[in-house]
């Protein structure tokens, strides 16, 4: 039997060495697997780790890809810190995008960019409403939020599918399940850089991330709200003793995380797609769970974790495109990377003890 014993002190060296070792192990096993499957191992690694940084427009694509992950991850951080397990951010993302899309398509001729404030707000409301369902079920009827939030993802997926095939389908779409294009006022533009033009897909939505990260840091570390979340997560009894209302904290963090997932949905659709379609998310809501934990539930950590995960995802896409490596194989590689990163982090805090197994 294996038991984990907490270390008395986390060595400072290990905080640096552990992630490096994790990467070394990942590369080693990656080399093995790629060689075994008959791909050029070095070139594959180059595609995954280096190519995303090889051109400036590719670097900006990392930011674009990381943007929704960081926004959703920050919301999830609030939930996970207070021991509320919202794993339905994917559904909240979709419902946010859908409500914002509905508003956007209701004003087909609007041009002013101030309209974006309204669609983003609508996205927040849409996501928050979707998260309100598990929140109210948990606090009133003690229903497990993990199941409810997860299952609502599939409801949301089918719902947007129905909407773009039915009520909001563009009559001019030649039978494709697509809505009309968004009006100018609901689109998020790419950022023009003087003398260079656009950098890949880099858009103004990224500004939201730069606002969100410091704001959430202040919220978590410096405000009473953040303090309440922290206490509730680490000692629920103590939260009672302090007179914090557990149910209202639970509802608040679910609404905030649902709302942020919804905003991520609006930004993703308004900047990169420009209309509603059956698939708007590509699993951001689930990947963000990994981002939140890899970032150790801290705003700064989540910023970096989002960028790391986005890099590997893009690198995997590159490897797929240039070398024809199947998605399953690059997915396997992503799995190995996460496995070693999390192992490294766990071993920093815990010693492993092998003891005799019981019969």
């Amino acid at each position: 039997m294996i038991t984990f014993i907490p270390r008395d002190k986390v060595s400072k060296n290990w905080i640096i060495i552990a992630p490096i070792l994790s990467i070394v192990f990942t590369i080693f096993f990656g080399l093995l697997i790629f060689t075994f499957l008959g791909y050029n191992p070095l070139e594959t690694l180059y595609q995954i780790f280096v190519s995303p940084f090889s051109r400036i427009d590719r670097i900006s694509d990392i930011l674009v890809k990381a943007c929704p992950l960081i926004i959703i991850g920050t919301g999830l951080m609030l939930c996970f810190k207070s021991n509320v397990w919202n794993i339905g951010a994917e559904g909240q993302f979709i419902m946010g995008a859908l409500l914002a899309g509905f508003i956007a398509l209701s004003f087909p001729n609007i041009e002013t960019k101030f309209f974006l404030l309204i669609t983003i707000l609508a996205g927040f409301v849409g996501g928050a409403l979707w998260a309100f369902i598990p929140a109210i079920l948990k606090t009133k009827l003690n229903v497990n939020e993990i199941l409810v939030s997860l299952m609502l993802v599939y409801v949301a997926m089918l719902f947007i599918d129905f909407i773009v095939r039915g009520p909001l389908r563009d009559p001019m779409s030649f039978g494709f399940p697509l809505s009309k294009p968004y009006p100018e006022g609901a689109l998020i533009n790419k950022i023009p850089f003087p003398g260079i033009g656009f950098l890949g897909q880099l858009h103004y939505g990224i500004l939201f991330v730069f606002l969100l990260v410091p704001f959430s840091w202040i919220f978590v570390n410096k405000t009473l709200g953040g303090f309440k979340i922290n206490v509730l997560g680490s000692a629920p009894q103590a939260a009672k003793f302090a007179g914090f209302k557990q149910n209202s904290i639970t509802i608040t963090v679910l609404l905030l995380s649902g709302g942020l997932a919804g905003v991520a949905g609006v930004i993703e659709v308004s900047a990169n797609i420009g209309q509603l379609q059956p698939e708007v998310s590509f699993g951001y809501g689930f990947t963000a769970i990994i981002v939140a934990f890899l970032g150790r539930l801290s705003p700064i950590g989540i910023l970096f974790a989002g960028i790391i995960i986005a890099t590997v995802k893009l690198g995997a896409d590159n490897a797929q495109m240039t070398m024809g490596i199947p998605k399953v194989v690059t997915g396997l590689f992503e799995g190995i990377l996460l496995f070693f990163l999390l192992t490294g982090e766990t071993l920093q805090k815990y010693k492993i003890k092998w003891s005799e197994g019981k019969k």
């Binding site: 405000t223 953040g226 303090f227 206490v231 000692a235 009894q237 103590a238 003793f241 302090a242 007179g243």
Partner: protein, 518 residues
């Protein structure tokens, strides 16, 4: 006293165990003779539990050796300890409440035998040793004393040559303690050695043959328990003269401070306790002691008195005749009612937060009255840091650094901090649950003195405690809680420890039960 080499069952030499920089055990020598009752005495944190955990294979020593019957062995797991005839009864029972006695014992056995055989063996053992329990009863239906008997039977199933008991009497009534001692003496006379851990001096003198005293991880004396006194033991253990409590002249008033009337509360989970028709009142200048064995509704009572949970009707709880049953915990703090729950970490404090943050935990309402909305929004580390420094200074809380995490403090110091935090709020009514539970003598004395001072300065104190000595030492009036029912309130001069003990066990219930089994 020289023991014959042959008679030694367990001999440990130069046992050392470190946790990081913390010295838990240092060069401890101890030898236990066959059939001997050997007591291990020491304050909390002296290293008693670490040492017995090493004997039972839960922890491994960093150096030192252990011999059993002159054979050097290394006890790397409880399995190996049991194979070598060592059994242990832990302070906190490890029984599954939803299973029967026999099932609980069956799962713990290393050699699997048939269920009917287990039942037979339990019946045989319980007759042989007068450990009366019904093997087919659910553990959740047993009293604490019976649960302990189940644990002892579980050890006896393995025919141990050494039985380790970790503070076995801390949860028992005086009657149950008497019964336990009879059993232990009988076991010892049959040749089974007993290693008995306690910090209760009278018990050790009554029970033990030899006593080893630990202090700060070192064994400082091994003495014949039959030829010593409680005073000598206490002074050796603490290392200084123990100060007696100073009882100032009371300023007793007739004014009722706090009252509970006809309070009922159904249990909210299967293993909780329902409160039935609780009535109590306490005057200013008075300490009301609520005795009772842990798990008889103290936690549930505390939740309602503190305001973590509201009572059904507003007039079931009264402060100076004013109904407050529906007010929440912070409103009650503002009214001058301070409470301390029995669970020190995770309830009264958050272990991974600093002392200043833990001060803020019960203080933020104080700031929120006076400041603007923006300062209300922020948590206030600076103010609470000043406040926590004051608490640390005024209450002699010993910290490893300024503003440490709550988890860095020892139990006694943490409790001094918690008490100080409550007192800094200048309460009119203080309701404290198990304030000295598991705290070393030095800290316990300081805490008791504070409670006395508080009541003598005219405040009302309710002390919920399972420590009978403490109840009698401090209280002016005494009542007993048993299975969610509160006895009537007695004046301390009108009631004896035996009476209280009987009430704690639900009057003669326990004895009747045993008679029916006989």
């Amino acid at each position: 006293m020289a023991k014959k080499e042959l008679d030694i069952l367990l001999k440990a030499t130069k046992i050392c165990k470190y946790f990081g920089n913390f010295v838990a055990n240092q060069n401890i020598d101890i030898s236990i003779a066959k059939g001997q009752i050997h007591a291990l005495l020491g304050e909390n944190g002296a290293g008693k539990s670490t040492l017995v955990k090493i004997f039972y294979g839960v922890l491994q020593p960093d150096s030192g050796s252990i011999e059993i019957n002159k054979q050097k062995i290394s006890i790397t797991s409880p399995n190996i300890a049991r194979k070598n005839g060592i059994g242990m009864v832990f302070q906190h029972f490890s029984l599954f409440p939803a299973l029967t006695v026999a099932e609980n014992i069956l799962i713990a056995l290393d050699n699997k035998i048939k269920f009917s055989e287990v039942v037979n063996k339990i019946t045989k053992l319980s007759k042989e040793w007068e450990l009366f329990v019904d093997p087919l009863k659910l553990v959740s239906e047993l009293s604490v004393g019976e649960k302990q008997r189940v644990e002892i039977i579980r050890c006896l199933m393995q025919n141990p040559s050494l039985l380790i008991m970790d503070e076995p009497t801390s949860v028992l009534t005086p009657q149950e303690i008497k019964n336990l001692f009879k059993i232990l003496k009988k076991l010892a006379s049959s040749g089974c050695s007993i290693l008995y851990i306690s910090h209760k001096l009278e018990e050790i003198i009554e029970l033990a043959d030899e006593v080893t005293i630990l202090k700060s991880g070192k064994s400082i004396a091994s003495i014949d328990a039959k030829k010593t006194t409680t005073n000598f033991l206490a002074e050796t253990m603490v290392g200084k003269k123990i100060t007696e409590l100073k009882k100032a002249i009371r300023s007793k008033s007739k004014k009722i401070a706090f009252e509970v009337k006809n309070l009922d509360k159904l249990k909210d989970h299967e293993f909780g306790i329902s409160l039935k028709n609780i009535n109590l009142q306490v005057n200013y200048g008075e300490i009301l002691g609520v005795a009772g064995i842990a798990g008889n509704g103290q936690v549930e009572l505390m939740e309602i008195l503190s305001g973590e949970i509201n009572s059904k009707d507003n007039d079931q709880i009264l402060l100076e005749k004013i109904p407050i049953g529906k007010t929440n915990i912070n409103e009650r703090r503002k009214l001058g009612i301070e409470t301390i729950p029995e669970e020190r970490t995770f309830h009264a404090t958050v272990p991974n937060l600093t002392l200043s943050e833990n001060t803020f935990l019960t203080y933020f309402f104080k700031y929120s009255n006076t400041k603007s909305w923006i300062t209300n929004l922020l948590n206030n580390p600076q103010n609470s840091l000043d406040e926590s420094k004051k608490i640390v200074k005024n209450n002699d809380v010993r910290c490893p650094e300024t503003n440490p995490l709550a988890s860095q403090l020892s139990g006694g110091n943490l409790q001094k901090f918690i008490l100080g935090r409550s007192l800094a709020n200048n309460p009119k009514v203080a309701i404290f649950s198990q304030p000295t539970w598991g705290v070393d003598i030095g800290a316990a004395t300081a805490i008791r003195q504070k409670l006395l001072d508080l009541s003598r300065s005219g405040k009302a104190v309710i002390l919920i405690s399972q420590d009978l000595e403490e109840i009698f030492e401090l209280s002016d009036k005494i009542c007993v809680i048993n299975e969610g029912v509160l006895s009537e309130i007695f004046d301390v001069r009108e009631i004896t420890a035996t009476d209280v003990g009987l009430l704690m066990g639900g009057k003669n219930r326990e004895n009747k039960k045993m008679d029916s089994i006989k």
